[in-house]
Symmetry: C2
Subunit: 628 residues, 2 copies
Amino acid sequence: MGKLLDKINSPEDLRNLEVEQLKSLAGEIREFIVETVSKTGGHLASNLGVVEVTLALHYVFDFKKDKLLWDVGHQCYAHKIITDRKNEFNRIRQPEGPSGFPDPAESPYDQFAVGHAGTSIANAIGLALGQKQQGLDDKIVALVGDASIVNGASFEALNNLGLVKRQLLIVLNDNSMAIDTTQGAMAKYFSRVRLSQTYEDLRKTTSNILEHMPVFGKGVEEAIERIKKSIRMVLPASQMFESMNVPYFGPVDGYEIGSLIRLFEGLSHLNHPAILHIYTTKGKGFEPAEKNRPKFHSTGPFKINGEAIGKKTKRKSFTSAFGESLVELAKKDERIVALTSAMCDGTGLGEFREEFAQRFYDVGIAESAAVDIAAGLAKSGLRPVVAIYSTFLQRSFDQIAQEVALQKLPVVFCIDRAGVVGADGATHHGVMDVGFLRMMPNMILLAPADDVEMKSALAFALAQDAPVAIRYPKDFVPDKRYVRAASKRPFKLGRGVYVIRKKASKAVIVSYGSVLKEAMEAAGILSKEKIAVDVFNARFAEPVDGRLLSVLQKGKPIVTVEDHSVACGFGSAVLEKISSNLNGPVENRIIVLGSPRKFIMHSTRSYQLEQVGVSAEKIAQKVREILP
Amino acid sequence: MGKLLDKINSPEDLRNLEVEQLKSLAGEIREFIVETVSKTGGHLASNLGVVEVTLALHYVFDFKKDKLLWDVGHQCYAHKIITDRKNEFNRIRQPEGPSGFPDPAESPYDQFAVGHAGTSIANAIGLALGQKQQGLDDKIVALVGDASIVNGASFEALNNLGLVKRQLLIVLNDNSMAIDTTQGAMAKYFSRVRLSQTYEDLRKTTSNILEHMPVFGKGVEEAIERIKKSIRMVLPASQMFESMNVPYFGPVDGYEIGSLIRLFEGLSHLNHPAILHIYTTKGKGFEPAEKNRPKFHSTGPFKINGEAIGKKTKRKSFTSAFGESLVELAKKDERIVALTSAMCDGTGLGEFREEFAQRFYDVGIAESAAVDIAAGLAKSGLRPVVAIYSTFLQRSFDQIAQEVALQKLPVVFCIDRAGVVGADGATHHGVMDVGFLRMMPNMILLAPADDVEMKSALAFALAQDAPVAIRYPKDFVPDKRYVRAASKRPFKLGRGVYVIRKKASKAVIVSYGSVLKEAMEAAGILSKEKIAVDVFNARFAEPVDGRLLSVLQKGKPIVTVEDHSVACGFGSAVLEKISSNLNGPVENRIIVLGSPRKFIMHSTRSYQLEQVGVSAEKIAQKVREILP
């Protein structure tokens, strides 16, 4: 840690520093972030981009009282370092360490636990309206990236910004990047504006705003008019925001810390909402990250020269298994097209994009549009595959129900990051997809247990004349020892497969998806204790295999295992199935294992599985408990 | 039916008519719609507004091959009349009659079964990309209202319109109305443009576009440039669309049928997407509707002079019971604020808005923003009540999970139209809310059975330091004979109440919400057959009352009843609860009644309840079946 940073124990300490010192401090914080993330992994590039902005905001506002809202929130590291969490920062995203996203449970400086895009403006509007009604006047600032502001949720909020008749500052942090290059017309518009600006232009704009800035609370309104007028004359005002009637200032340089302070100071006195458009650079100050911004968006540990640490793993992830299988299938079927929403690499579509550029669509952070565009593609006769993380697919619930399921269109949803996700934590777990999808008529739900099954699951899905959802976790596929003959049997609608079947079995473990690994390990543990259990790989959550009924009728209890919430999950579907099929009372016993109704904090995925009770040992323990 | 309309059996027949005849035909269709809807009820005002536009579109395009996409779709009556459904039109929205919304099952002229806002542009993009990839060139037209185009889903689609490199026409049908006056900055922007235009301006714009219109396929691109240039000079081009790089034409008059035909004809030859902005008037040509557009947005039967038919019902709806209770509570608690998304009257908030104008927010068709603004309001210390129909709340799934449940904010969701909704049909049923909400940690789910319970449910909800969802149907509250002492007991977290309890009871009917009425009627039927059953009003779906376990332990079977899908519903929650609590095997028997996994078509609500098996007789029958 640097000399200056050593002395910063709260944002108040910033205010004792000169601008030059703040610049040095920014350098120290940047170094601290690079050093830490090189060990822990985490979101790097975006955090390096906003160090100066963060310092300037904390210098001007008092966020113990004032409210700072982060959009997505993965760029909050400098904020965490200067607010209460400097000493824990080296354990960021680790179990018991600080979250990689804002979290009110950690600090009063964090307002909302966030992780999805486009929420901060609407949250800020609500805060502002509430403050106004209660006669309060804490300042409110929302920091939104250019990739977030094109999300439908942001637009709906911007469209309603007129409700607010008091201060509310939106800082548009424009680094022309989402995880990947930002998509869509707005992005092109921003980059056109950006390209048309020289460094000199930015300085002129800044001084123009500053020159007309009102003196503390006096003549604010007239000053705004003057500022707006002079900027309009000098600069291409943002048509977009002007058409939405949002006072727009900028663009300005996001690294001139002295100017930023004066700008924030001035704008803090406005008595209505405004947008300040600032330019930053992802990865700022760390060359490897500036050069490869997608790679350093979210990274594992690395050497300080930017090289990845450790030998490249040869283990295959579910993500890459999906990507490979899709490319293979797409070679044989021209109807296959793929869509994603700003997560091409994250969902394993990189190779598909290269191979089939004309059949690949990235719509930016716009999950709702992705699904409705896929519906149109399916209607036209193609076979769209929509690859979106489980947690983000929640944004498309209504579109899947209405435009896909109701129309019975053959859209295949490939749901990555299904289940607990490890270090990203509560906002990123995908533990509700089975529930929200299985309520929809026509929808078929399945989950492969390994890469062999991934391929046949995908082939099966693409052959259906109905929507299909395939879920799989952020994890490696299990070792070959788990790839049994069972995996190789082709998928058949609503049929699971026995992976272990013993004559004297006392119970049946029924697993859904990747947790077959844990189920089989549990069976192994029990086997050593001379407790024979069957293991059934369900494959389908909808329709559920009706043969499970006969298991119960033979008097064997069932333990269902899934990496999903118990509420509405696969086990719940089994309960429903059994309940509706009973022709008479049977002594039945179904225990459902999965995530409880509570939010699971960040840590490692294996720790989280243990936590929610679907580790091998926990499964085995449950079997022991229920046996007579 | 008029003389001309008599002869129109398909859109081809239109093309034999002169423009003057088309005008007369529009008049006949308008009369036919008014006459029919005066008997059947239905969406009236919006349908009267677009008769000419519909005729002009069908005159120019061949929608057996070309694709016409309706946004929301409640304005498709003229379209239905001239495409295959003239003779069935008098049974619109009736059982077995045509749906009030587009439905591909009815006619090849309908592409998507729709009902929610903002979907048509993205669907059109998908269709266009799919057509292009397959070397097809059917024309594609999306008709979108000004209230729909401000929805986040529309914006995400507009932002991605650049993906399309071929013809795609968006007709922006601007009547400055959603169900109520459209909200937000865009709406203000549109109305500013609208007010600045005289009738003469509209004519000038039209002739300007027409003058530069390309000759069939020749020199299209240059012509576009000429048109755009000349319009830019004459008219305030739409900043909004320009900033999104969407070629924008208009505004023009939506009733000059001859000009509309020439405009559509010309624009159909463009080889890239474009927007044509047309002005129409809700209720056009029917004075009572022009004067009171909200009233005639969706209406019951009425006299041709506009008066409602029949004596005003004195029966209270769940909706008005909610509205009244909220006003009463808000008088005592200043922290209570209410939000809705373009359905103030539909959700019973009219009185609240009048009484507490400063505590009421309508955000337009922007369900996601509504919830995030509510989250901010709650965070600021207020008690927001969000009133949105169940089917539309699906748009807010992610916001409720992330910004409300994860933060454990005290937002109260008042979910109207929960359950089957009658005449609006498949796109409007609210049969998934229990499922998607009960997966979220911190969320409390309850449902009142009548107006007495509505009041105490709401009071209970507003007293919680956690999010609460209250669901109720589009129905009247039951007669007083159902209001028993049980209803008057205050709500207690996770506790249901016995409404009927008999010593010799053979089974327990456990109902959730308004279907307590059906449950009690079923008990009445069974009682006459000397079959004694208990009736338990569960009140809570989360947490489920644990005492149900002891019922099973006494050997009594349970029949759960709900107006929700069986998948993931209340009964499913009971199954999960019992499964997790069993300390040893019991002979248990739980039968879950609710909607099956299929889409329920439009008809009456009582018919639909019968259809899904939760009518009194069907419940009674199920009890008979399972008794030993």
